[in-house]
Amino acid sequence: MLQGAIAGLASGGLYAVLAVCLTLMARLVRVVNFAQAATGMFGAFCAVWLVSTLGWSIPLASIVGILVGGALSALLGWIIATWLSEASTSTRSAVTVGPLLLLISLSFIMFGNKPQPFEPIIQGPAFQVVGVAVSWLTVTTVVMAVVIAVAAALVLDRTSVGTKLRALSERPITAELIGIPSRPLSVAVWAVTGVISALVIIIVAPSQANDATSLSMLIVPAAAAALVGGFRRLDLSVVGGLLLGALTGLVAQIDALSAVRNFVPFLVIVGFLLWMQRKEVWDAAR
């Protein structure tokens, strides 16, 4: 049982990193970015293409791939900040489903629909816990999730940029009236989360299913993890990601539960919504 949970942490760290990105986006630019993993996937595929077709070195290609991921995310952010600045969160979020599907299709067209030959950057077991090897990758993604969450919290609470970003998300019109540049700041948030997603996907892609669809669909468990923090709390989104990974690993160990295993993120989403609604009276909840 415990082994399964530890084995699941590798995915958990990845979900946590993406969940932190999603939470930041929701808090600062009022959007749930469904293309969060897809932009990262596309950046990663570009990196692989540079290595396998043009013979670039892996570090250089990875950096370019990460920048491509960031640029795609920034472009999407710019479109939303320009034309949908006043739109509701639901509308802004729905718009990101388009780029998600577009990027999957585009990568099919450009790179084929087979998994890509990623070279592992980080590999091998790090240490043993209760007879299960914990891989370096698990260590990396878990540490990354915590570091990014802490860094983001510090930036938001302790710096003037953070204050401006919070002002923009809480009171966008007031913030603009007192001269805080809204578009550059929100595009910057998109770019930073795009870079982080591409980075984590480039790190994990070599060690898991890495076709366009599976990588882009990481958004589903990541969204479930972000929900644990209600898309507000960074600490809880990290915890949510790790728990979700551990839970998936745990369920995989129990044959009787094999039927629900693929629905774990979905069950988390539904369970959380029911919990949110627990005090609602009928009329308000409908």
Binding site: S93, G124, S214, L227, A252, S258, R261, F272
Partner: protein
């Protein structure tokens, strides 16, 4: 706002779970003269798992046949439809080709779902199908469908046979990805191996999911059970993930007994650490070997820029078998109609080809899983290349008749 946001996420996430893939147009057939012989195929060309090469290869064979004058001037019109992996499209495609275009036979299909869905319709319409690649279970248990390939179930028996009889590995375990109702077919394949060798599977897990991004938990379970070899029926991305997960947890002394579904150069490039080796009984003579056995196929594929894969071998073979049938009918003075083609296939004498271990037959049996030979190949750690297996890789490995 928070609550609304949360609802949006939930609804959209549920929606996204159901969405993926893309679609593109399908390709039409060639043109013929007054009354071309219409042949069709239903293929999964777009979506998450695709097999476009089979029908491309079949088309190349027919184009070459037409360019050489066809059947005494009568050309073949080949209609290859894309079912996009979608059941409604797959059934509509078959009805279009059989009902409206009046095809005489289905040749070179390669679809995730088509056989199962259309087998009954083919029976009603009295039309026979020679899939280039039979994928789903329906391709191997219908009187009207006889694929050119071995298929995943006999391939599963073969890979187990190779593991125990040639490599002499013990503690063989099965981690199976079960799609739809394929579990009984895989169980029957394992029973076949048990009957031939007198061995039993050490451990079996039928709950391994398709398209998971991390298989570590399943591997942890298998490793703790004491498995030394793993028989697995994955699609490429899943297998790559599994091998990488095994490597990440430091499980390096495991032998992988896999199926032709992972036999591609792309897969070899993606796998640098293969434990004690990945072994596959290739369903056709290995396409990575450049020699006289694959020359005719290879030349035609290169000429038409079609990828060299097991799928294009299957499509090529289905089409060449079909042309042999047409030539024989012409010799016998038969008119090329659906009924006559069906009769000819029912009375077909086995066709030999250097790329297959079992001569191809159709016949009147209720089910068609006659192809029982594979050519053992291996992928070793650090090579990134498929090679003919060191042991027993100098001939076809066949399931003994019990």
């Amino acid at each position: 706002m928070n609550k609304r946001l949360v609802s949006v996420v939930a609804v959209a996430a549920a929606g996204i779970l159901l969405l993926s893939g893309c679609s593109q147009g399908s390709s039409g057939g060639g043109s013929g003269d007054k009354s071309p012989i219409v042949v069709g195929s239903v293929n999964t060309d777009s979506g998450a798992a695709t097999f476009p090469e089979a029908s491309q290869a079949a088309k190349a064979v027919f184009d070459q046949f037409n360019a050489q004058g066809g059947l005494d001037g009568q050309k073949i019109k080949y209609i290859a439809q894309d079912d996009k992996g979608d059941p409604a499209t797959a059934t509509a495609d078959a009805r279009q080709i059989v009902g409206q275009d009046n095809a005489v036979a289905m040749v070179g299909s390669a679809s995730l779902i088509e056989c199962e869905l259309n087998a009954k319709y083919y029976e009603q319409q009295g039309i026979l199908s020679i899939p280039g690649i039979g994928v789903d279970r329906g391709c191997f248990d219908s009187p009207n469908i006889s694929p050119a390939n071995v298929g995943p179930f006999n391939d599963a028996t073969l890979t187990l046979l190779y593991g125990t009889n040639v490599l002499h590995v013990d503690h063989v375990c099965a981690l199976l990805e079960i799609a739809g109702n394929t579990k009984p077919a895989y169980q029957a394949a394992i029973e076949k191996w048990e009957k031939v060798t007198g061995q039993k599977l050490f451990y079996a897990d039928y709950t391994v999911p398709y398209g998971a991004n991390d298989y570590t938990p399943y591997l942890v379970k298998a490793k703790q059970a004491g498995c030394k070899a793993i028989m697995n029926n994955p699609v490429e991305p899943d297998s790559i993930a599994m091998l990488k997960n095994a490597q990440a947890m430091g499980w390096n002394d495991v032998t992988w007994l896999l199926l032709t579904s992972v036999y591609s150069t792309n897969y070899a490039n993606s796998v640098s650490d293969a434990g004690k080796g990945v072994y596959v009984p290739a369903e056709f003579y290995p396409f990575t070997e450049v020699n006289s056995q694959t020359k005719a196929w290879r030349d035609l594929m290169d000429k038409n820029n079609i990828k060299l894969t097991a799928f294009s071998q299957g499509g090529y073979l289905a089409a060449t078998h079909f042309i042999q049938v047409l030539k024989q009918m012409k010799k016998d003075g038969k008119e090329i109609t659906r009924q006559n083609v069906t009769d000819a296939l029912h009375n077909l004498k086995p066709i030999k080809d250097p790329m297959i271990g079992t001569p191809y037959t159709f016949g009147t049996a209720k089910v068609h899983d006659n192809n029982i030979c594979g050519w053992p190949i291996q992928l070793m750690t650090g090579t990134n290349k498929w090679a003919v297996a060191d042991k027993g890789g100098d001939n076809w490995l066949c399931i003994p008749k019990s």
